[in-house]
Symmetry: C2
């Protein structure tokens, strides 16, 4: 007989999942109730309200998709993009490439604007691409590239989209709750995120918000949405119905308890305080790494405070250091993805994981691993 699985206690300082606080885990374990129970539906309304707070929006269509961030990305593309459309897609990391996959699988053409991994999206190149593709349905970009630790200028990119009458589709998986995501002020049309980064909930849900303009585009579709599960016209019937909600799928009840509790934590802290905390611990990490001879991969000014790409020094066994951190120090950090595999480590200071103590612990442990290596 197999035993129950008892996970080890690991400090999660990778690219996500981030540490889930005890009160959020306690919420997760509360008794399951029905997904059509009036009290559950009341909680769903509160989650929508809390997500509007997190996204800084009044968008009516704001809810968590019942699946991980990748499904939130897919929901944005399959609902807003139709076969034959053209979408300008910015790619300065792995997740821009994934956006391209989504555009192509929706039967549309992706016009790629490429920037080097580790640099922000070049606004001028995007403007040229939009000019060269009049009538483009959307501009899609990653606000916070989890694969490189780079932030791009979401406000400027959304403004460009509006100027060219394209919908702005924004990947905020790693940004929401860690740095400002201002849906309304930017004029973004679709933003998707994940529960397991700066929101400090377990992985499995993807908060999304869609502007009125996006909802109009969904209503004006010439073709059916290719996904039944992610068809927002149907999802809305469950999340937004007044009175009798239309059954669509069974909501992940307990996961939603956890998201609700995690969002209450963000509300209690306040967005600006959370952003300042992420920034302060990023600076402490940067200084601590410098003291042990490690550099950040991304240039100053383009760095995400919550996801720090660290150059692996020449001659150091990248995977070996991560393994020692995990085995000897119970700390998880991330590897590089795609073309950055083997070249960087990724240290996440996300949500509840962004604390002074965690910074000091990972710097000390990394220093120890590197010294052992040198010895």
């Amino acid at each position: 007989m197999m035993p129950s699985f008892i996970p080890p206690d690991v400090l999660l300082l990778g690219p996500g999942p981030s540490p889930v606080p005890p009160n959020v885990r306690a919420a997760l374990a509360r008794p399951t109730i029905g997904h059509l129970d009036p009290r559950f539906i009341g909680m769903m309304d509160e989650i929508k309200e809390l997500l509007r707070f997190a996204f800084e929006t009044r968008n009516a269509l704001t809810l968590p998709i019942s699946a991980p961030g990748s499904a939130g990305m897919e929901a944005a593309f399959v609902n807003l993009v139709e076969p034959g459309d053209t979408v300008v897609v910015c790619r300065n990391g792995v997740f821009g490439g994934r956006m391209r996959e989504n555009v192509v699988r929706a039967g549309a053409t992706a016009v790629m604007v490429d920037d080097a991994f580790g640099t922000p999206i070049d606004i001028g190149k995007v403007e040229s691409a939009l000019k060269a593709n009049p009538g483009a349905k959307a501009l899609a970009f990653v606000h916070a590239e989890t694969s490189t630790g780079v932030v791009s200028d979401a406000q400027a990119l959304c403004r460009l989209a509006r100027e060219h009458e394209a919908l702005a589709i924004v990947d905020a998986v790693t940004s929401l709750g860690g740095i400002p995501v201002r849906a309304d002020a930017w004029g973004a049309d679709a933003i998707y995120s994940g529960s397991q980064k700066c929101l400090s909930a377990p992985p499995g849900l993807s908060p999304v918000t869609f502007s009125e303009r996006a909802v109009d585009a969904i209503r004006a579709r010439r073709t059916q949405v290719q996904s039944w599960f992610l068809d927002l016209g149907l999802v809305m019937g469950y999340w937004q119905g007044s009175g009798a909600r239309a059954y669509h799928h069974t909501a992940p009840i307990n996961m939603l308890y956890a998201l609700h509790e995690a969002l209450l934590g963000l509300e209690a802290e306040g967005l600006e305080h959370a952003f300042a905390r992420h920034l302060a611990h990023h600076e402490r990490l940067r200084d601590g790494l410098a003291a042990i001879g490690l550099d950040l991969f991304v240039a100053e000014g383009a760095r995400l405070p919550q996801l720090n790409a660290v150059r692996v020094p020449d001659g150091v066994d990248e995977a070996g250091v991560r393994r020692r951190l995990l085995e000897d120090f119970s700390i998880e950090i991330g590897a590089g993805l795609g073309e950055l595999a083997g070249r960087i480590w990724r240290i996440g200071l996300m949500g509840a994981g962004s604390t002074e103590a965690n910074v000091d612990r990972v710097v000390a442990a990394l220093g120890e691993c590197l010294r052992r290596k040198a010895a």
Copy 2:
């Protein structure tokens, strides 16, 4: 400031979610670890093994999709069906209609075989449809119709599919763990289920299993799978990779802890014991309902033990009784769906919910509600 959400304690005797035992909820709340942590990957392998036990299969491609049952359904169709294909779809309830939606959205033609809601699928009609549509890519049917409480002959239907060289796609959302689901003995090609029915885990995951024949069909596709999130070619890289797993999406870590624990419970009880328990409590419910003047909607021999459709007597306020059960007795039962709305109640005795005490409690409460109404 909003308070934390404390759900009421409700006995879940509807069509799912079913009651989640305390040990499964405790597993859910264990510390989150990384989705690429070797210990987590070891647990993923155990889940695959436990699911093979539940599905009675040796299929290598057996895993939980990171989203609810509707996404499992979509995974089966978008991976096995291509534009231009023809699929014979049996519809004797709401979920057969949803299968049709999936076929159409995959760009294929659905040939419908309709039977009345509340009756099993007519094998002869299916045989005629397969004969009339030579070269049909698949035969799709619902084993246990959650909307009506009817079981159909999955073994005979899978045999027909094989005889006509069509893939057999089986909806076992409500059957898995409650009545026999014998993937290999039937020769089924794709079966999907849900975590929140007879498996007694919270909603949010969809266990699936695909035969070698189905995997060959996926490998032989002429077109790309339209969903990136549900593309099994990519999902397999994460769940089946040996050594270095390819990152696809962030797995819902804590939900997988819960599924692992719930499956251990099923293994400890044994499948045949679980089936006998579901049957015995169904019979007790049937007798108890008869004693208070209530009939089952489905004819004997076609009834699902885990999902009992009960005729609403003439003159009884269907929704009112459900509301009183919930408010006064803290018991949830289900309403009718689609054309059965208002005409039936659905009483689920699923997984950990299938106990003698629960049967007696719901019969007594229903009797009380009906007496009050009559008084």
